[in-house]
């Protein structure tokens, strides 16, 4: 059973002459422990795919299954609970609340879900420590560097028992060293069993994924094959 599955998902905005087909018949499945990157130019439907995968938006046709359960069959409340408990989001601009400290930001989704403040804080600290920024727990977002802010955002996305991580250009605003640090953390989360989807136009970021799918005009047009072992890159041809 896939952690996330999109079956024949289409999304149309507007109607008549202003109709826009953002997604056309998209099939995508992501297993637990796997990182999938969706690459495509602006306007190819990447962000729509992510918001539908995260049940923030409803597809025009087709279905979304999380852990094998069709999201459309869930009640409003169950869907909201799914978003709070199972799905973590990471955005390019971090989306941290400025008035809360790092640990408060990370603990917030748990508290909203009814976890006691104390327990949520402990889980928040744990997530921050796992990402190497436990010492920034009581700092406010504006006291953190861009790289640290994104770590807090990732901690918030994986805190508690979240097992689906959705990221939209998660390293967009960062320099290459911080960008690599961020994607390493996303990958580490996947190796602990989280299913991850990142949408990006950055090939260096996408190349951390187990599978890269290419989106064009709302359609998946291609995907990478599982890569052969890296040894093949090092087969010698003598230097000249």
């Amino acid at each position: 059973m896939s952690a996330l599955e999109l079956r024949g998902v289409s999304k149309v905005y507007g109607d008549g002459p202003t109709e826009v087909h953002a997604l056309r018949n998209v099939d995508l499945s992501v297993e637990a422990g796997m990182l999938v990157a969706v690459m495509g130019p602006s306007g190819s439907g990447k962000s729509t795919l992510l918001t539908i995968a995260g049940s923030l938006e409803v597809p025009t046709s087709g279905e979304v299954l999380v852990d094998g359960v069709p999201v459309a069959n869930m009640s409003r409340n169950d869907r909201a609970r799914l978003r709070r408990r199972s799905i973590g989001y990471v955005f390019q601009d971090f989306n941290l609340l400025a008035g809360l400290t790092s640990v408060e930001n990370v603990a917030l989704p748990l508290e909203l879900d009814g976890v006691t403040a104390k327990k949520a804080r402990v889980a928040g600290m744990h997530a921050l420590e796992e990402l190497g920024i436990g010492d920034r727990a009581s700092h406010f977002p504006d006291e953190l560097s861009g790289g640290e802010r994104q770590r807090v955002a990732i901690a918030r996305a994986v805190v508690g028992d979240r097992h689906l991580l959705l990221a939209d250009e998660p390293s967009g605003a960062l320099d290459s060293v911080n960008a690599e640090a961020v994607i390493r953390l996303v990958r580490a989360a996947c190796q602990r069993g989280v299913a991850g989807v990142i949408v990006t136009h950055d090939a260096q970021l996408a190349s951390w994924a187990d599978r890269v799918v290419f989106l064009r005009d709302g359609r998946i047009v291609d995907q990478t094959m599982p890569p052969p072992g890296p040894e093949s890159l090092l087969s010698p041809g003598a230097t000249s």
């Binding site: 690459m39 260096q204 190349s207 890269v212 995907q223 890569p227 230097t239």
Partner: protein, 199 residues
């Protein structure tokens, strides 16, 4: 890659034997550039002829027992080389650019599909390099720099393919609106030579 200057660099740390030079060269370049021992000795002989290195003994013995050290002229040559930018003025003959240009000129070929075939191949290569980077120990700076260089190079290929794709998509959209057929793409003979196209 200049083996000549790589050997000078290794010798600038102190006298070394030929075999040692080969091992150190490979270790420093993350073992991505293998070097055969014959190449090491041929290069050392040329460096010696040019007065940039000297042999530590009387020169009667060839092979692994013969040590070399760098001369002041060798040090100067190395310093100059490090600060001399490589020639990047003319674009290299790029087979991928040529393929896309040829596809553009051929009727019945979907250039954007051709672009996608290459894009997927390059991303797959990048995935392999990224795995190597992921598994490499953090202190192996030489190796990590080599992998980064390769990833940035491949990334620039992807960016070019993306840009080409965008241009072609825009052109196709414009052609739909315009009553006149778009003029056939053409390259001036000078540009054809620059990108390495043969007639």
């Amino acid at each position: 890659m200049s083996v000549r200057h790589a050997l000078l660099a290794l010798l600038s740390e102190g006298p070394k034997y030929g075999l040692q030079l080969r091992q150190e060269f490979e270790a420093r370049t993350g073992e991505v550039w293998p070097l055969n021992v014959g190449q090491v000795y041929t290069t050392l002989r040329r460096l010696e002829r040019d007065g940039l290195v000297e042999s530590d003994d009387d020169g009667t013995e060839e092979g692994p027992q013969r040590g070399f050290h760098i001369t002041p002229e060798g040090e100067a040559e190395l310093a100059t080389w490090l600060r001399t930018p490589p020639d990047m003025t003319s674009p290299p003959r790029d087979e991928l650019v040529i393929k896309v240009l040829v596809a553009l000129a051929l009727p019945g070929v979907d250039v954007r599909d051709v672009v996608q075939v290459h894009r997927r191949y390059v991303v797959e290569l990048m995935q392999q390099w990224t795995r190597l980077k992921e598994d490499a120990p953090e202190h192996d700076v030489g190796f990590l720099l080599v992998v980064d260089a390769e990833l940035f190079r491949l990334d620039s290929v992807i960016r070019w393919l993306d840009a080409a794709d965008g241009r072609l998509a825009r052109l196709a959209a414009d052609a739909k609106d315009a009553p006149e057929p778009a003029p056939a793409p053409s390259l001036s003979p000078r540009l054809r030579r620059r990108v390495g196209m043969r007639r």
